[in-house]
Symmetry: D2
Subunit: 378 residues, 4 copies
Amino acid sequence: MKKLNYGMVGGGPGSFIGDAHRRSINIDSMAQLVAGSFSRTWEKCRQTGADLGIAEDRCYANFEEMAKAEAARADGIDFVVVVTPNVSHYPVCKAFLEAGINVACDKPLCLTVEQADELCELADSKELLFLVTYTYMGHVTAKHIRQFIKEGKLGKIRTVMAEYPQGWLAYEGEWGGKQGEWRCDPEQSGGVNCLGDLGTHVENAVSTLTGLKIKRLLAKMDVVVPGRVLDDNDVVLVEFEDGATGCYWASQFAIGHDNSLSVRIYGENGSIIWKQEECEKVIMISRDGTIVERHRGNAGIEPKAAAYGRLPSGHTEGWLEAMGNLYRSFITCINAKKDGTFTPDMIDYPTVHDGAEGIRFVHACLKSNEQGNVWVDM
Amino acid sequence: MKKLNYGMVGGGPGSFIGDAHRRSINIDSMAQLVAGSFSRTWEKCRQTGADLGIAEDRCYANFEEMAKAEAARADGIDFVVVVTPNVSHYPVCKAFLEAGINVACDKPLCLTVEQADELCELADSKELLFLVTYTYMGHVTAKHIRQFIKEGKLGKIRTVMAEYPQGWLAYEGEWGGKQGEWRCDPEQSGGVNCLGDLGTHVENAVSTLTGLKIKRLLAKMDVVVPGRVLDDNDVVLVEFEDGATGCYWASQFAIGHDNSLSVRIYGENGSIIWKQEECEKVIMISRDGTIVERHRGNAGIEPKAAAYGRLPSGHTEGWLEAMGNLYRSFITCINAKKDGTFTPDMIDYPTVHDGAEGIRFVHACLKSNEQGNVWVDM
Amino acid sequence: MKKLNYGMVGGGPGSFIGDAHRRSINIDSMAQLVAGSFSRTWEKCRQTGADLGIAEDRCYANFEEMAKAEAARADGIDFVVVVTPNVSHYPVCKAFLEAGINVACDKPLCLTVEQADELCELADSKELLFLVTYTYMGHVTAKHIRQFIKEGKLGKIRTVMAEYPQGWLAYEGEWGGKQGEWRCDPEQSGGVNCLGDLGTHVENAVSTLTGLKIKRLLAKMDVVVPGRVLDDNDVVLVEFEDGATGCYWASQFAIGHDNSLSVRIYGENGSIIWKQEECEKVIMISRDGTIVERHRGNAGIEPKAAAYGRLPSGHTEGWLEAMGNLYRSFITCINAKKDGTFTPDMIDYPTVHDGAEGIRFVHACLKSNEQGNVWVDM
Amino acid sequence: MKKLNYGMVGGGPGSFIGDAHRRSINIDSMAQLVAGSFSRTWEKCRQTGADLGIAEDRCYANFEEMAKAEAARADGIDFVVVVTPNVSHYPVCKAFLEAGINVACDKPLCLTVEQADELCELADSKELLFLVTYTYMGHVTAKHIRQFIKEGKLGKIRTVMAEYPQGWLAYEGEWGGKQGEWRCDPEQSGGVNCLGDLGTHVENAVSTLTGLKIKRLLAKMDVVVPGRVLDDNDVVLVEFEDGATGCYWASQFAIGHDNSLSVRIYGENGSIIWKQEECEKVIMISRDGTIVERHRGNAGIEPKAAAYGRLPSGHTEGWLEAMGNLYRSFITCINAKKDGTFTPDMIDYPTVHDGAEGIRFVHACLKSNEQGNVWVDM
């Protein structure tokens, strides 16, 4: 299979996430970076391009120019990767969609529900593919759980306990460097901090793993560490359409937690426990209480999920592989589009519609919190 | 030190909890069972008494008779242990307090706030000692955490995540035997099931470990397993008087959880994680994120807590020892009362006031839930 | 069932192990302490007796006198508990056996193979019951594994990895208090330290759990911490009669290990992992690699083992309960002897023959080590 | 920095390890694959080359031709990656060294001590760089431990317990596919199976982490699973030059173990526990017994080790990153050689000398085992 060509917006010097996307794509070598608008400062953009071996004429001063120019080239990019701060996701994605280019965008998708709806419509009407990189759902173990539940093996789900505590923003007067600064700044993050950064991962993880749709929710968003102006600790009670319930927690001051996304699912036939930091492992409890631990690569992992593995069990695959798995499916779909074999059931990654669901979740929570922690329909 | 004499109400054939109390007291041999009204059926009462080596004249057909008779004897019991179903706690405790006898009662203390207040007043005015056996707070590791926080070592507490999931009542049409039946029966349990049985332990654990007082709470109490009429899954959001927050969860259908009470405390100087099922261990994270695991018996355990240990580290102490620790302090206080050396700071066990707090918690939750999950002052 | 009467030799002031035996027996209240020779110092013996409520005429200045006097009484003790330092086990046990009294003795049984053989013969010829308190094999989980393997469910065992590291004697110039001092003193411990104290537990655990008999072994016994004169780190390679192999490790300077006896058993049908410090749990891996965690009290525990449990799952039972389980079977057997219902298959505790096996193991290791770590037949 | 060019010998269709090397190098994009002799079958070689985008004239029918041709090109490869079965490592490495090309070779380095010595001499005399890919020592946590110990923070090491159990070859009549077949075949693996495959990793891990040199060893190599002809379970006792001791275990039939390399190091100032399958974590116990868990990315990781991290803590890095770290240092050194800034202390990867040590270890074990498990000098 010939490698696809891709471009990047964002990902200049000091960007963690742009670097991470590039490494993830490199693991499978199904696409190569050929163009970019890596920074709003031309000098930095050009330097990053040079470091990455990008031809000078495919380094662009801004994304609008890039979208137009690449759309016009016969050898233009097959997709763009958007890794700018949250506030720019919407205009950048829109520009590339309008130029007819497939989009991969980091989460959260955008700032407002209106923006999210517009991006959905645009992608749908133009029949473009759109990946939102909720990385954690790329883990083989996550895919296993999703498949297991989809096949009804857990029975009716009764309740879901999910959380995403981190500790890096626990310190008064410290802002966690560049990464923390923009997250805590209302201008750049869209008026929500912890819930947008971590809470959306929780929402996406639960809906991806369980297939459950939120009917209504009740949120408590607290600003706790002295000096913060945006939420840094959030609890959300949810009711799903089929009557199941859930409780979500996200925090940025939970010292001792690095990146502790976890989901516990309790069904009538058993339970499932999944922890992102032990991403090669899934705990599955059957109806009689037997606790089984399964590892990626072991017998017993759902075949569709297992197929994403690259290494034998016990040879840890991690975060880069998880993101790589999202790109693998995304690129496979683009290739299928190109050769006319694409069907929608090939999509095995979070789409713009999943991204939009995250934005709706955030805004329902903001509304609930503003009104004194009352129930709000989703 | 001469052994104290104690009596028991409840604890007849098939009683798990009466048996457990007796074993716990036996570990330290600081008191001996000499009287009892073990069952409402005289035949069973008498048989249990015989099995336990109780003199025939100190087996009583009912608790009222027992309270009077024991109070009248020169060698009457020093305290009574009340291990009947919840619904009888109040009349039994009241009878013995009125007879001037110290009381140890299983939790929850009683059914209504009025009953709780009355028992508090009665114990206080009569200057009697009253232990409510919230067993888990007897663990050395729990005592260590309490002391550590009391000394301000964790700094201001920001949030507390606490839970108590069990799985034994997950099955439609099954009632978990005698133990489950009375818990799920409104007549015997006082109109609340999971929250009274498990939620009160969560409330007590958090307040004991942290010293925080609940200001207001918002509760969601769900009846989930088909056929149940009382709550079997509860989530409670709490705000404490000093501004800290908490989220409590209790469930009886979380398959795979045996008895998974856990408390996670996040402060400005670090975090503490404690799990009842790993009761010999405490995880303490310092401000810089260093994760330390301490075991009962190790250096670094607060001396006052460590003093309760009976075995070297690595020689597991468990649930019976935890309850034994409550009784050790309770009996020590009774002995001190007898020889005139008692001072209130000697009390290192949950009292009738802690028990009453649990009842207030339950009723505030019921009110919040009935009104649609709104904030209710405690 | 009427309580049995027992006596104790050793267990005076400051004795950890005597105190532990008494507490263990108290948990089930199947026997009561009525006589003792608690210390070689009469004053201390008398004081301990008084503290424990023993009648003055049943406190004895020495064990010889006690054996004779108790044997002569109509209401004499049903068994004696021997908890003296290792060097005295042999004469004490011998005296009571000769007096016709059943014996429970702490491990290791004695110092020499000749002594061990003599005690075996004496117990057998007198038809007396003899418990050697290898405590760890009393855990329900250990009993479960034993039964599981006995029924052939693991298939042929291929290799066993077992170890017992501790860290309390890691420090140059420190001797771990009274407990450490006599263990490190050749006079009192019989010329072997770590291997006698910990290695014998490993040997007993493996043979109890697997039923395998050692054919030959190769031992390396090292004296490591500066100032020690006896072994404090031992590795033993073993070959069993049926061709399986094993590797045992015991150490007293492995900082961070409290009391970390563990056994891992690899068979043709799967594996079993058991850790004493997580005594409520057993990890069982089936032939297809499925890793199952079972807890005491859960479904799936072998019924004969499960019957020893006193508390529901998740309510930790520990070291005292494990020892209590040994005593429960021992006392049940004595009762059966008294009422004529005893049969040898009722014995579910380590006997004098198991104790003797431990002494043979120690002496084979000493021989292998002296000869330069060569193979020695058992 | 301009990307280096590299070639590969081996790594054709179905090769796990060739694929893994390529992915690892891709993560950092410091080198690109431009040439190869991927299979002994020209058709397969050519196809793999085409799949990987290699120019036709740089696909070679055999390694001798490739070494000569690449050495002759102005734009010839900067290094070759050797991922053939063990039996071919020696001739391939030799050919490229003789052609003046730097070599990265999978472990074990070769089959005989003579071969190993020759490769060492050749690399040294030609001043070529030579990486042997003992992958596990590339983990940040492994580098942290190495640095910590090097600085004397653990004090004198007393004993080391290390093991590498796997379970994939536990089944009679099954050979674990292509991977298992050549390992169990004396022709292809050089007369040793488990010890060469896993035991050499243990030897390398211990010597890398601790810096200890083996003085003598005693090995027991068993052939256990019916049908095997080579060792599948090995235990090795070692004595190091400074008097410390060790015990190594490797097995291929330990069902339930995926890839469980672990090293436990006991020093006079504390202990360190490292498990490959939890590669982001290291357990460090200080002299007073305090157990500390550190994660890659946390404060407290040695700075030189931490610098290899690509992702924040809690974002799992795994096996590919570990191998990538070896390549990062290797490529950095080649670049430094090219621009004249190289100094030997820049080498932070296992070299041909480490590889040779592994071969000496294997042959000392074979000798010890043949002579009846006696001590053999290294």
